[in-house]
Chain length 382, copies 2
């Protein structure tokens, strides 16, 4: 693929009560234009990733609404795939560039969650659950708790082992000025935090977050040292409900999409120095490491505890941004935020959280309980 | 472009109280597979166009949910652009095939509207209006009434003239077994019908409808006589609110997208024998004829009254399906239904509503009050 990322933008993530969904998106879009040194007229199309604007705000046609900010009447598209909405928007943006229809396009992921009651947000997010799960009163912490229990039983992994994932991600987030949580935590803090859905506790769970992220990609030849290549973009789906799956300890959509992505990028997991994975819950990151081939089955938490995934001590750093856990999880924005983080890392612009010698990075964006998975592989070819 | 339509499916349109959104989509998907003589394993990806499943039903991730019906874990995407959601899904499906990422993909448009109160549907649809329009209590009939008033004043067109559009479309719909309304109407019927938003009356307005439509497109060489080529797919956007526009009597998004589409397909409006246009209101069809170059400015209703757009008497037949007015307007399905109708016509399979010698057709799908426009051009190359 001949696709370069040439601009990135990202708002601070957090409980941002004073700004609207449009404010957030516009800030990220403006930053991406500035970062790419492009003007609005240089953008051929806009792709928007967002999950909840319809469900929570009765807002449709967010593609055109955000394109107004660019002001040139370009094609504009809203795309949704639950918490993988950002990744899906990027995947389709890439196809539009590869097809020759567009040369330079912007992709923005945005979510405004905190203006709503917890009940409304929980119900809204369950829009990505199966009908049976909704009727049973399930919530996503509950659904991931099933996976955690199955994983712990299958591999003899403990709650303390899973807690190490949140500890690592908060450590990384402490270096990230845009993260929702910039404090470090201990295994003991995780263990003492409130039970949400046994065995998951508050500090196993990603938060409710407002935020936006944007990138600009192009097929044009670019000489800038800021250019980062996208070498694979692959998607796969699975049943919406957990009950349709043959295992709870691996997500087939991730395995399928990752296999295709490695093949397309002509790499193996060993070639990767850095990854942003979809740690909506601690258990989700453990399973991700294994489905992506970073760790052997059942070994993810052991590798994390040994420091192999941590900045400063590791060889394959996972979630240097702080991940969904510490950086925050504005659901439609997350998939694009992952790309912003990898781009900054691969450019060598990540400041205090810079991963040394990062040349190849992977982004893993998941919707629902593994219903849809989007894998992107980025490379610094310079 | 080397893209062929090789399968079509469509449910009956109407108030279909006994079937769900999933039932509707599945029926159209199954029909498209059967019509193409393909198996689920032959489909590389699924693109879903829908506007209201989140707003009305709290349903997210409809892409993956519908992909479960195919059952092979393929990439699946939900795309929304108000009443142009179907066209937008097709546009992006085409890019994915042109990019080489996929060879054969299914596009389904679906909407289930009648399970909700009129107030909820009106509020949901206003999700595609501007914030100022919503705050002012505007509705889409009201917004299009502004356009109608401006058009009538600018060109000296009367309410009776506009009524001829609904009369034509009901005449066409009377031949369509899948249409919501299969009865003919007269100018007098339109004039006597209840005022909705002056000068628009009930019979100037498209109805609330349930329905689904699906097509299968491919880049593979196909020898089947059922193959129809897509020769252009173009999109443009405009301000969400009417107040941002320099005119109410032309939609710049349509003019831009049509200009690009004619250029891409290497045709002029004179080469077209058949078109499905977005007649959400009678005035919308009048403006469409002019923005698309079928009639001179202000002349659309005159041409319609003279029979130039009617099956049997016309040279460029518009809305042979009955259009949104008579066939019905399940908003996310409409853009795909237009393609199904054109495909059947260009194949010569349209039965009692067959347009003679139809070789080139155009589909015009619009979101909001002209906020986004999608133009597709289809051709029978055999």
């Amino acid at each position: 693929m001949n696709i370069s990322i040439i601009g990135t933008g990202m708002t601070r993530f957090g409980e941002l009560w004073k700004v609207s969904l449009l404010d957030l998106a516009h800030e990220a879009m403006d930053q991406a234009l500035e970062n790419s040194e492009l003007l609005p007229k240089d953008i051929d199309a806009l792709f928007v990733g967002n999950m909840l604007s319809g469900i929570l705000n009765n807002q449709a046609n967010l593609g055109s609404l955000l394109a107004e900010h660019i002001g040139t009447g370009i094609p504009a598209f809203y795309m949704e795939g639950a918490c993988a909405s950002g990744g899906i928007a990027l995947h389709n943006a890439i196809q539009s560039v590869l097809s020759g229809q567009n040369k330079t396009v912007m992709v923005v992921g945005v979510e405004k969650m905190t203006d709503h009651s917890g009940d409304d947000i929980t119900a809204g997010l369950m829009g990505a659950g199966s009908e049976a799960e909704r009727q049973a009163g399930a919530t996503f912490p509950g659904i991931y708790a099933f996976m955690a229990r199955a994983y712990m039983e299958q591999y003899g992994v403990t709650e303390e082992d899973l807690a190490a994932i949140s500890v690592k991600n908060h450590f990384h987030g402490s270096f990230n000025k845009k993260a929702q949580f910039r404090f470090t935590i201990t295994i003991n803090d995780v263990m003492k935090s409130s039970k949400i859905a046994d065995p998951l506790k508050l500090l196993d769970c990603s938060p409710i977050t407002d935020g936006a992220a944007a990138i600009i990609i192009t097929s044009k030849k670019v000489s800038s040292k800021k250019r980062i290549s996208i070498t694979a973009s692959e998607v796969a789906s699975d049943t919406v409900g957990l009950s349709g799956r043959s295992t709870f300890t691996s997500l087939s959509a991730v395995v399928k999409a990752a296999k295709k992505a490695y093949h397309k990028a002509k790499i193996t997991p060993k070639d990767i120095q850095i990854a942003e994975v979809h740690d909506c819950f601690s258990i989700a990151e453990a399973i991700a490491h294994e489905d992506l081939g970073f760790s052997s089955p059942g070994q993810a938490t052991k590798d994390i505890i040994e420091g192999k995934r941590t900045i400063g001590t590791g060889n394959l750093i996972v979630n240097p941004s702080g991940g969904l856990k510490a950086c925050g999880h504005p659901v439609g924005a997350t998939g694009i935020k992952q790309i912003v983080e990898l781009t900054e890392q691969l450019r060598g612009d990540a400041g205090p959280r810079q991963v040394n010698n990062a040349k190849i990075g992977l982004a893993h964006n998941v919707g629902g309980s593994g219903t849809i998975a989007v894998i992107h592989i980025l490379q610094n070819n310079l």
